[in-house]
Symmetry: C2
Subunit: 411 residues, 2 copies
């Protein structure tokens, strides 16, 4: 292929703005929840775009949208590329949507310049990733990869008590026996905004993701004893706030001793009775821990929980640790990483190999088929907000890399 | 006087139970708020009791109730003894009420056994101490000691928007020009439940209070930066929860290095946005610090705030410290302490000199006239709750000490 891609014809900003009109909010954000009207209109409009581009467009039984460019030599296996169409409430224009538009524009460019590929390529607009309407995330990619079955969604309801299957029916996807699982996926390629500030801070244009982190989340409850703040000497206290502060400081400081890319966050904390002049009897907080190696997560959790237990034993306080999230780390495909690396070396763009600290559809595909995930910068790392922003140049760079990568894989 | 007091005639439990019927709640607690119906009925009933006992009973202009036993030699100066009649919402039977009943029973006993004293004694049922109806505490003792004027309460409203002065009028105390301030108080003697667990834990029957602590309360706000819990490396974070945990752990641990009886409490803490997978941008917490020496409070606050400032500077986070309570420590009268000490040495009761970590009416009197405050044990230190409890034996001991002390001072 030509070394230089003529990006004059690749209107990524225009197409992204067009897609962000479906579900636009008054804050200049986007709310497009699984199976709602904005979601439905957007998917139908995307289907038309796919047809305009020259792709064979079709929905599966649950609302994933595919635009197929059939290979001249290998038809039975498909290189799938895309991301998700749904957003969080009042989210940004880029999260998910950029990946769908980038894939569509890349395939459009390739078709216009090189005709049909040797290997079949399909652009996918996955129906759901965020988990923002129903308490279930990765519905689109999870169904294609066979991790979710229709019955997994049967009992779920949204905040207005609308059942999941009613929502499907209203959107034009009545629950059916036809499975959304596929066995013809050769590989999955996703481009996404970073949703972090690493690329921006390090002045990199593109990130090649090597791993998506594993996530563990815990609720930690400390049961002390309420008492009068004035009449209880320090030595008589079982102050759950004091114990919590020791725990959190220890947990945060221990991170850097374990491994550089380990992260831990206490995002939510509640105090009882939460009154200035009463020693708190109970503090409950969440702990979110992420790393791309299970053994690092094991090591960290064992270290801090053993400390928590020893302190509670010493102070005579109660401790209850319950885990409510346990997502395993996922490795991206080494051959695809090498190919992306090769493509990027040929472009004069600064890039880096990196870990994804957030979950993505690539996480579902990563244990199912060879998968590649590429990042473009997010301004200030802001995401899930109307303030989400990526510079046009960066958006274009992502499409260029994708064009080169798909060309290499499919032509 | 006789060494042994015949407590058969001193029905402290019966009288306390009788008083607790005014404002009794379904939880076996008491709600008697300034100027409400239960309060009014209780004060009028107490007035009758005072008359029955042989005292000259009268209200002042704001609803403090006095029962006077005039001295045969010194009439112009009064030994005042009592406590407050009001409670918190669903409070206990003992806080305040015990002090009123103990004083009334002690004076009854003295009058029955020894007739009129040389010095005038007055039993007082102070109208308000808790600050539980209007945002103002110590209204009774503060008015007698001239610290509050009528106009200080003029703008105040209760939770139902009833103005303070309307409540006064409805209770039969229409605001008038007649001041409640008195210049004839010789001394003030109060018996109160400890509201802490020190006497119980140390198996002491009586506490002689030497000081009432000073109290400082602060709101401390840490302004960090919200970010994604997964995509933000630890070194990029301005995690206000992490900073708060370091502050609280430091503040709590520093206490014991400064002085044994210093206490500090973080009772209330709020996190923003308080979501498990978002690094908190803001944490606000209260800090309550108490000690009986101003220089110790100064030293502690300077130490921890300088640490807070250095950490925020280092982390590039914002810090806002605002003080909203500043009550000075109050020393009880040394002569009265010595007299109480002498009296207690003559009884075969274990007792200790101690600091009061809670505020009491004695705090208002302590800077106005010689004042003594005596404690009896509180079971498990529980107070401001229907579970508040003091054993009959301890209640009786408090009355015995008061009889002996008043006899020594007035006969």
């Amino acid at each position: 292929m030509q070394t230089t891609i003529n990006m004059e014809t690749v209107k990524v900003e225009k197409w992204l703005n067009w897609l962000s009109c479906f579900g636009a909010t008054k804050n200049d954000g986007v709310t497009r929840l699984l199976y709602d009207d904005s979601w439905k209109t957007a998917q139908l409009a995307l289907k038309e775009k796919m047809v305009d581009v020259g792709l064979q467009a079709s929905f599966d039984s649950i609302g994933n949208l595919f635009g197929r460019l059939e290979g001249t030599e290998i038809k039975e296996k498909t290189i799938l590329t895309g991301s998700h169409i749904d957003t969080v409430v009042d989210g940004g224009k880029y999260d998910g949507a950029y990946g769908v538009i980038a894939s569509l524009l890349a395939v459009k460019y390739l078709y216009e310049h090189y005709g049909f590929p040797k290997k079949t390529i399909e652009v996918v607009s996955l129906c759901e990733e965020e988990g923002s309407r129903f308490p279930l995330a990765f519905w689109g990619s999870g169904s294609i990869t066979g991790k979710y079955k229709l019955e997994d969604s049967k009992e779920l309801k949204d905040a207005s008590s609308i059942p999941f299957h009613t929502a499907m029916e209203l959107a034009g996807f009545p629950p059916s026996n036809q499975s959304a699982a596929r066995d013809d996926i050769d590989s999955f390629i996703e481009v996404h905004i970073e949703q972090g500030a690493v690329l921006e801070k390090e002045k990199q244009s593109v990130g090649i993701v090597t791993h998506i982190v594993g996530q563990r989340r815990f609720n930690i409850k400390i049961i002390g004893e309420s008492n009068h703040a004035g009449t209880t000497p320090m030595s008589y206290r079982k102050d759950s706030m004091h114990i919590a502060s020791e725990f959190i400081a220890y947990a945060m400081n221990k991170v850097k001793e374990i491994e550089e890319s380990l992260v831990a966050t206490v995002g939510k904390l509640t105090v009882s009775p939460n009154v200035p002049n009463v020693i708190p009897n109970e503090v409950v907080f969440t702990l979110d821990v992420r790393h791309h190696q299970e053994d690092i997560l094991d090591q960290y959790c064992a270290k801090i929980f053993s400390y928590f237990e020893s302190i509670c034993l010493e102070k005579g306080a109660g401790l209850d640790i319950s885990q409510w999230v346990n997502v395993k780390p996922v490795k991206m495909d080494e051959n695809l990483i090498d190919t992306a690396d090769y493509v990027l070396q040929g472009l004069s763009l600064p890039y880096k190999k990196m870990i994804s600290g957030a979950g993505h559809d690539s996480q579902m595909f990563g244990t199912f088929c060879p998968t590649a995930l590429l990042f473009v910068p997010s301004q200030k790392g802001i995401s899930h907000s109307p303030l989400e922003f990526t510079k046009i140049e960066d958006l274009k760079n992502g499409v260029i890399v994708l064009i080169k990568l798909l060309h290499k894989l499919a032509y």
